[in-house]
């Protein structure tokens, strides 16, 4: 089985982001960037399938500026075999990303495409589902377990009512949730080795996809701040504060 994994470079999930005062976006200059956490789980899942002898090759693709090489190198250090950077400095919409990935999938013909379920910057949760539609494949989103059964996958998904298991014939698209696995931290020798693995850089403009955005972003604004409240001194005080809230609700 050949696996294509898509990864995104985002503002590190530990960074407290700051909205630019002029409303043009979130401050990203001088901010620590790293691989989107969900993408790490997708890479880990692919590498584990190789280790179990169920997959033969893992190709990792990222779309973004030159610096996105960093997240491809991270994936290569985790055990992916080769990388593709689809280079663009433009901020692309999720549909455009999915179209570019569909082109890469057409070239690579993977049996399985793995992605993170969402990116922690725009929180869209779109691309896997769109790519599944564009490549006419079945999808299993929000995966917390992937089991290979012959030419099928059995995927357990985290859903609002709990979990559900679906069977997917390959080729298929799966998006990773956080409980799928624990991503490894690549050991130094793997990091060194990653630098010698093949990494192709291809301009996004070469894929024949219209890169223009459809939506107009008017502004990015900060959310309303919550004002600090008070500390109470006893359980009795807390209980009466709760009772006061409940009474107010009932008055509604």
């Amino acid at each position: 089985m050949k696996i294509l994994v898509a990864v995104k470079r985002v503002v590190d999930h530990n960074v407290r982001i700051r909205v630019r005062p002029d409303g043009t976006g979130v401050e990203t200059t001088g901010v620590r960037m790293s691989m989107n956490p969900f993408c790490k789980h997708a890479v880990e899942a692919a590498v584990q399938l190789v280790e179990k002898g169920q997959a033969s090759e893992v190709v990792v693709v990222s779309i973004g500026p030159k610096q996105s090489n960093d997240v491809i190198l991270t994936a290569l250090a985790m055990g992916a075999h080769r990388g593709v950077l689809v280079e663009t400095d433009a901020a692309l919409e999720t549909l455009t990303i999915a179209k570019l990935l569909a082109k890469v999938a057409e070239e690579e013909q993977p049996d399985l495409i793995l992605l993170g379920k969402q990116a922690v910057d725009d929180d869209s949760n779109h691309v896997g589902q769109m790519l599944a539609a564009l490549t006419n494949r079945p999808q299993a989103t929000f995966a917390s377990e992937i089991v290979v059964k012959g030419s099928e996958l059995e995927v357990t998904r985290e859903v609002d009512y709990g979990r559900e298991t679906v069977a997917l014939p390959l080729p298929a698209v799966v998006t990773a949730d956080l409980r799928l696995n624990t991503p490894r931290n690549a050991a130094l020798p793997m990091v060194m080795k990653a630098r010698s693995k093949p990494l192709a850089v291809r301009p996004a403009a070469d894929f024949g996809v219209d890169l223009a955005p459809r939506l107009v972003v008017e502004k990015i604004s900060p959310p309303a701040e919550r004002v600090a409240g008070k500390t109470v001194g006893s359980v009795a005080d807390l209980a009466s504060a709760i009772a006061a809230e409940v009474n107010e609700m009932e008055a509604l």
């Binding site: 779109h126 589902q129 709990g162 979990r163 500390t231 809230e245």
Partner: protein, 309 residues
């Protein structure tokens, strides 16, 4: 400018959030509901009662992403907007449909500013994006918690659609949490427990407090990862988004990914040993101390006062 809204349902019942979604969709035009289910009758009947619903359309089919997307697709042409809840189903199908229709979707909408202007949170709710969607068709998911429910008392007509939808993926099994606590997404009071609750038994204490108040129960990712609480209790960036009148956070630090799920709470109360915890800092009322001492006493106090929501 009519709107098609996909209904969420579980165990043969309409999701209690649907009235909120109808209220959201109604801001864009008359609303028709689509129910895709193996046993749709009761779900459709409940949907028909929501004020503002014009027609309920029903497709009897398996509930996989493909079959739901194909059902929506066959109706999409007649609507200017096709919408769903920002739930696990809506998130699964709206982007898939969007790609088929070559439309960039706008998802997790928390505010409708005009016929094609929407606000959605990004960066775990630490920023809000206002977008204009000039496309001829809008594909949308709404966060139910951000909208007030529509009234009931309607009697919309129910129409069965004879569609044959196929799906390469097959549903195998549902694994659910047996729990009689109220729906997290629409509950008026929510009690949340963190990893410091320490065990599944510890969560029974949280549940007991929940019962006392008629509240829903939620958890942090750390508590779910540790196996103390089921995954569908997770609140936050990657879990459920709640907007209760009162959220009581017990032994929860308040990581930004958790805060992402509780921004809609009107009041936040916190119980924590650490007065410096970020959640304590944003709480309206905080009690500093050990949850294992406080929670049993709190239950006793509340029971004594005869409170029952």
């Amino acid at each position: 400018m009519s709107v098609l809204l996909l209904a969420d349902h579980d165990k043969g019942e309409l999701s209690p959030a649907t009235a909120r979604l109808v209220a959201a969709a109604s801001q864009l035009g008359p609303v028709d509901i689509l129910v895709v289910a193996e046993n749709p009758a009761a779900i459709a009947a409940a949907a028909a009662q929501i004020a503002g619903v014009r027609i309920v359309q029903v497709v009897k089919a398996a509930e996989t992403a493909e079959s739901i997307t194909n059902s929506l697709e066959s109706l999409a042409q007649r609507y200017q907007s096709v919408s769903a809840s920002a739930s696990s189903v809506g998130k699964d199908v709206i982007p898939r449909l969007a790609a088929k229709l070559d439309i960039q979707p706008v998802t997790d909408v928390v505010e409708i500013l005009g016929p094609n202007r929407f606000t959605r949170p990004i960066y775990a709710g630490n920023a809000l994006e206002t977008v204009t969607d000039p496309q001829p068709k809008h594909l949308l998911t709404f966060r139910a918690s951000a909208f007030r429910p529509a009234a009931s008392g309607n009697a919309a007509s129910v129409e069965s659609l004879d569609l044959s939808v196929t799906s390469a993926a097959r549903f195998l099994a549902a694994h659910r949490t047996e729990s009689d606590t109220p729906d997290l997404a629409t509950a008026q009071i929510v009690i949340g427990g963190g990893v410091s609750v320490g065990s599944a038994e510890g969560f029974q204490l949280i549940e007991k407090l929940g019962k006392t108040l008629g509240a829903a129960v939620g958890a942090t990712r750390a508590a779910v990862d540790a196996g103390y609480a089921p995954n569908d209790w997770q609140i936050g960036q990657t879990g459920k988004i709640i907007a209760p009148d009162l959220y009581i956070a017990i032994g929860i630090s308040g990581a930004l990914q958790h805060l992402a799920g509780i921004q809609g709470a009107k009041k936040i109360f916190a119980i924590n040993t650490d007065a410096e915890a970020p959640l304590v800092k944003i709480a309206d009322v905080a009690l500093i101390g050990d949850l294992f001492e406080i929670v049993p006493q709190l239950i006793a106090e509340l029971e004594k006062s005869g409170i029952k929501h």
